[in-house]
Amino acid sequence: MPRARTARQKTRNAASIAALPAAVLKTRDGAAVPLQGVTATGRLDSLLFGLTVEQRYRNDSERNLEAVFTFPLPLRAVLLGVDLEIGNRRLAAHAVARVEASEEYERAIDAGNTAALVEHDGNGLYTLSLGNLGAGEAAVIRYRYAELLDAHHGYLRLTVPTVIAPRYGDPRDAGLEGPTVPGVDLLGEYPFDIRLDLEGLTDAAAVRSPSHRVTVTPGEAGLAVSLQRTGFLDRDFVLEIDQAAVPRHALLARDGDGYVCLASPVLATDAAEQRPLALKILLDCSGSMGGDSIAAAKRALLSILDHLTPSDRLSLTRFGSSVEQVTEGLEPADEHTLTPLNSVVRQIDADLGGTEMEGALKSVLALATPADTHADVILITDGEIYDVAGVVAVAGRSQHRLFAIAIGAAPNEALARSLADQTGGGCEFVGPNDDAEATMVRTFKRLRSTPRTLGAVQWPTQPDWTAPEPVAVFPGDTLHLLAGFTARPDGELTVTVHAQRGTAVELRLPVATRLTEGDVLPRLAAARRISSLDGAAARELAVKYQLATEHTSFVVVAERADADKAIELPATVAVPHMLAAGWGGSATMQLIAARVPSAMDASVELFGTQDGRSLFQAPRALSARRASLDNLDLSVLWKDRPPVVGFSFDDRRALLEALHQAFLRRDPMPRDLNELSRAFPVPRGVLELLQHATHECLADESHVVAAFLSWLGVHADTTDFDPDFLAMLRGQVTGQRGFRALRKFMKERLAE
């Protein structure tokens, strides 16, 4: 192509990009979106996590604006404070009764002042209204929350939700209407950055993020975690810690004139228990589960099948708009059931349309259970529905324990956790890059253990109050117990935990002699107490401790000078969310940690067939409200293929030599990716590819590593290495099933 023409072409491209409407993010009515980005900084101290989040707003339009943004917090998070920064003023919001807060906000808007209101919509959703943000003005909303995390056998998973994925059903079921209904904009891009200090931790190798590429470095009093590059508000930030520090003392803090005590004893694990199970598995196959999510769900499901023994029973049901019983009922988990089920599961797709979860759950609960057995339900879902309360209520009445496996880059945590809490079950999370096997190992430990209940809690002195205690406890769990005292308690507390067969275990924990500073503990305790109170009492406590609850909101008003007051009614802009990464199969997140969603208008409707398959799952017998995004099956259009990874001759040789040395020393060959990466020089890209192979071929890590070693053996230069060594490498895969796909994978994806 002649040079001149290329230059012209470039100019034209540049011009047309500038003219694209995506250059400035706008809502559907053409107003510019004022959210500029979000930054979070936080600290994990043992099991207490505190985070400060800054939402930056700027009004680039010519008009006076009101921004309304509904955003997620973890279900157990307690919102402690909200600041409004505008001009050079920084003002703290106060918590008052919900109606009062809303009236104060409206009066400020009417009077032409700037105001911010943060309301708790329930189930982990909060709405910010930021009104009278003048043309060209910028403001920062800074909020801070605290959360008590659980460690399970020392494993801790910390999640910072950043996005609400499109949900199925009627937003009013979640208390949302008008501008508070979270919308989605496929062109939206909000930068997100986070920095965390992990107090008291030293082993950087025990800290990892399955969601983002992070740098873990020694910090002031532990480890510091930061993003390698700025992310986007399109997925939860997840951090996993293997050796979480569990406090050896009950924490003690001042609470007004009295004291508050937080004891977090750990229930020890007995020898492995092997209770036979009756599992009713319910798999969400709605459109939103497409792509990465259904792949992760299948990994989880195959892993479940792997953990069953012939003395167990199982049923499998999948649902979307309709319910499909895959097995006829609870069947023995023997070879006759499992072998065909394994192949059925591999064929499953997210092709059942909407998410009629309540009906599906009811039909699973109704499946006949043999007389002397207690059946448990495993629900595998992204939880993207509005009617959390309805589903949780059905589960709560059911006499079944529910174990929720929440799938995806931004699952509805509130649903999964509430189901577990209400039924004495459990919840686990499987993101696109998470190890489903490890998750299932944890879940099965819980399932197979004999149910335990919390007995008497003996505090050193009689408490004035205690916060509600957990319904069910499992070996390895951390229990959080909170109590208030007038006089300073001193000594030891004793917790009795009963197993069903009449045995009891006593846990003892001394009360710390040093006081924990600050007001976080008493306020966390107040939030727990509020959860069991109603109406006026709950409101009173929330105001006293300055908390945003379903009864109270935060409000702050920045008075403007007379000449500066807003004159016109603000244009109300509902700030849309980015499309959650990988939602409905919109793009894959596996391997690629910072991909932005493909640009495409969400309101587009796709009909017709491609290869005889419907692109649009036409809603069957659904009302207009149900015909939501959830019915779009976009996976066929958007699924990315992972790239071929280069593996140079020198790199291969270095790895082969290291393996050869190990072989000569009679060291065992690596059996999983961890062992492979720790002891041997494997390029990062290759490691990621191998990780991907576990997802794509639905294979165990050990099999992937074996196939990889075999591939290396086949491609090694025979003159350089011991023939026994090469034979050993090549022989890694013989005689084992399921290697064909892996061999093909290695052949296609590893470039020499």
């Binding site: 409206e106 008008g178 501008p179 004159i567 009614l569 910072a594 309101s603 036409a618 409200r625």
Partner: protein, 141 residues
Amino acid sequence: MDPTTPDRRYSADELATLANVPRRTLRYYIQLGLVDRPIGETRAAHYTWHHLHRLLEIRRLTEQGFSLERAQELLSGQAEAPAAAAAPRAGSIAVQSHIHLGPGVELVIEPERAGLSPTQLRRLAREALAAYARIADATED
């Protein structure tokens, strides 16, 4: 005075209370063009029976499960029978063109619904192809 008298004036507060919608939602509807702006300047602005009627209509439709976009279409008479456009009827046939942009990437056009002229369609296809080529060639950041 009867609050539904045609020439009665309402403040934003009264209107929101009568229609049982938050005032923020009223402002949102105005911004979306679902409800007309109030009459008069800010401090003296008022609403009429027509505003109230409109708000109640919107509430009725959203309670029946219609989205705000759909409510807007219905109220402005752009759409006819309510349920007709929500989903294609079983057995209905749509003829579509699939324009292949690259491996696994297609642009699907349903000419009748799209309402594009042949020139517009060619332009769309040309620009989509160019966009795809540019994006597919660019390296990931």
